[in-house]
């Protein structure tokens, strides 16, 4: 990897953390009205995967993948406006958080219904295949979402046609309060891949180098016609399920253990080993991301609150007006 790339990756890790931390703070201050689902602690997964993509590849993020929006190219200003529910958000205020995608950057906005984006990603990948475009679709989902029927239907279909899709599971050991042992009877959800006739792979989601290696392999496989991959990244969310959740269902020790595996600190150690001036980098990047997020908040706050009647817009592409 080039130094530039290694620094860029560091920038993304830090930007995501800064952005999400700010959103959490704004939420505590009562400035955000919708649910906030922090991905703090999981940054290496979205950075590792999205950084390996081309701009015309599509991603299908779920509720905890705000970072994927950023790395895939979404404008931080608009993303913040989206979270504020303002007119400059991707949804124009019609919904909040990650329910509005950014089509100009090939980012799909999910519904709340976990797992339901996977069939959509499969359909997108089918189009790439039959139109012989060497593009790839990435469907993100938590290990909790993996229990949904839609996930099965999508994976089975993708297997049949060897579609250029990566099923990217962020296994953070909890679905809201529910621990993995109440969610499935296996260690690795990726063990399901064999039942669909494609590759399963497991990696540490807190180690950016590992994620990048596994993601690159999976994306390459998809792009060259070798079919889907079920890539499972083991990771952990520091915050509760949403900012309202005090997460009393898990132990302090567990959190501390995982904090000691922080993906950003790990990357800093790696950069240090590469003999870069980490102190300088930290400061420089810190200022840069703070500025971006400051600007995003200012932009979002200045963005107009939609007016009532706008609720009737964007329902139909070709509305039929009543006679």
């Amino acid at each position: 990897m080039t130094e530039q790339k290694e620094r860029e990756l560091y920038f993304w890790l830090r930007l995501i953390r800064e952005f999400e931390d700010r959103v959490s703070t704004l939420d505590r201050q009562g400035k955000i009205q919708g649910g906030v689902y922090s991905g703090k602690g999981q940054e290496a997964v979205v950075v590792g995967v999205c950084h390996a993509l081309r701009s015309d590849d599509w991603i299908f993020p779920l509720h905890r993948d705000l970072g994927a929006f950023l790395v895939k190219g979404a404008d931080p200003n608009r993303l913040m406006a989206q979270i504020f529910g303002r007119r400059d958000g991707f949804s124009k205020g019609k919904d909040s958080f990650l329910h509005g995608g950014d089509f100009s950057n090939c980012i799909f906005g999910a519904t709340s219904m976990l797992g339901s984006t996977l069939p959509v990603a499969a359909g997108t990948a089918y189009k790439f295949k039959i139109k012989q475009e060497d593009r790839v679709a990435i469907a993100f989902f938590g290990e909790g979402a993996s229990s949904r029927g839609d996930v099965h239907e999508a994976m089975n279909f993708a297997g049949i046609y060897k579609l250029p899709v990566v099923f990217l599971c962020e296994n953070n050991f909890y679905a809201y309060s529910t621990p993995n042992e109440l969610q499935f009877a296996v260690e690795d959800v990726a063990s399901r891949a064999v039942g669909y006739g494609f590759k399963g792979d497991v990696c540490s989601g807190n180690d950016l180098n590992e994620v990048m290696k596994a993601a690159r392999k999976a994306i390459e496989r998809a792009r060259t016609g070798d079919g889907p991959t079920f890539l499972e990244c083991k990771t952990y969310r520091y915050h509760g399920h949403s900012e309202h959740d005090r997460a009393t269902y898990r132990s302090e020790e567990e959190l501390i253990t995982w904090e000691s595996r922080d993906p950003i600190e790990r990357w800093e150690v790696y950069l240090e080993k590469r003999k870069y001036d980490i102190a300088a980098i930290k400061e420089e990047v810190g200022e840069k991301v703070k500025k971006i997020v400051d600007d995003a908040v200012a932009f979002a706050e200045a963005s107009p609150v939609p007016e009532g009647p706008e609720a009737m817009e964007d329902l139909y592409a070709t509305p039929i007006t009543e006679g």
Binding site: M113, G123, T124, A154, N156, E313, E322
Partner: protein, 324 residues
């Protein structure tokens, strides 16, 4: 040469797939078999297996993949082998497809057509006779059509395929091979959102759609000496053609709504309520409704006849309103 209702559906798909290479068909047994009812006969041979896709038995996948294709510029037709199975893809329709454009603030559209055989009268029993339109009628972002003639079956399907919004296309299996018509030459499209005034009349208005249209037309003919009936075939259910309804009801002052879907919670309730609310002063009698009884569609013949609005009940209901 006269064409059956199901041939009309086949023609519409053939012509649209020939016209636009982004039109495609996904569903169970739509390819090799040509569809359980042969609606897609010949399509696989003509357009190839990439565009005519025999899917696994996965209705949620069919709809969801359809959305994924649609956002990439394709125009998928999604077949439910029987429309009853639409319940298995329900979330993908009402939450994924119907809100796609809305939650993206207009960045995208969702040109999918979900079609499949609906309706009773053929001893299909509880799971092969359903009329699910009311569920989707309550969901903004969707359009719902229900042709009653071969002419409309073809023209509305072509319109639905070209439409940029998700369209639920309800084809009535009772009509598949029971009606036959000569169709217009050339590119024959029936616009979504426009009802058909099947017959003008002065005494009362019957509003209907789908299979009962034929019973109503027969009644109108048979009773011509007694009562002069105006017959509206809605064709599009969502959004329904209020202008045509209003003009008719303000003229006749009496109205009967007939559908094969069951009464309670059926779309006849909405239309009757709208008429009773907005056209109250024009009404010379109660807004009447005739629909299937509030039960599942039982299998045995006498029960099914008891449930559905057959010819006898249609005639009787019209007579009752006329006498009011």
């Amino acid at each position: 040469m006269p064409v059956t209702y199901i041939q009309a559906i086949n023609q519409a798909m053939q012509e649209e797939m020939a016209r636009d290479e982004n039109v495609m068909l996904l569903g169970e047994d739509v390819g090799i078999l040509g569809g359980a009812f042969k609606a897609s006969e010949g399509l696989l041979e003509r357009f190839g297996s990439e565009r005519v896709l025999d899917t696994p038995i996965s209705e949620a996948l069919i709809v969801g993949a359809g959305v994924g294709l649609a956002i990439q510029g394709m125009r998928p037709i999604l077949e439910m082998q029987f429309i009853d199975f639409i319940a298995c893809g329900f979330d993908q329709i009402v939450n994924m497809a119907a809100t796609l454009r809305y939650r993206h603030g207009g960045q995208t559209s969702c040109p999918i057509v979900i079609r499949g055989p609906c309706g009773a009268g053929v001893h299909g029993g509880v799971y092969h006779s359903q009329n699910p339109e009311a569920w989707f009628f309550h969901v903004p972002g969707l359009k719902v059509v229900a042709p009653a003639t071969a002419h409309d079956a073809k023209g509305l399907l072509k319109a639905a395929i070209r439409d940029d919004d998700p369209v639920i296309y309800l084809e009535h299996k009772f009509l598949y091979r029971r009606i036959k018509e000569d169709l217009p030459e050339g590119d024959h499209v029936v616009p979504i959102g426009k009802a058909a005034l099947r017959k003008e009349g002065r005494d009362l208005t019957v509003i209907t759609y789908g299979s009962p249209v034929h019973a109503v037309m027969k009644a109108a003919r048979d009773m011509a000496s007694e009562v002069d009936i105006e017959v509206i075939d809605l064709r599009t259910l969502l959004p329904y053609d209020w202008k045509t309804i209003r003009e008719s009801v303000t003229k006749t002052g009496k109205v009967l709504i007939i559908h094969e879907a069951r009464l309670t919670g059926g779309i006849g309730g909405e239309i009757a309520a709208r008429i009773a609310g907005d056209l109250f002063e024009y009404l010379d009698g109660p807004v009447m409704r005739l629909a299937s009884k509030d039960t599942h569609n039982a299998f045995a013949g006498p029960m099914e006849e008891y449930i559905i609005p057959n010819q006898e009940k249609v005639t009787e209901a019209i007579r009752k309103l006329a006498a009011y």
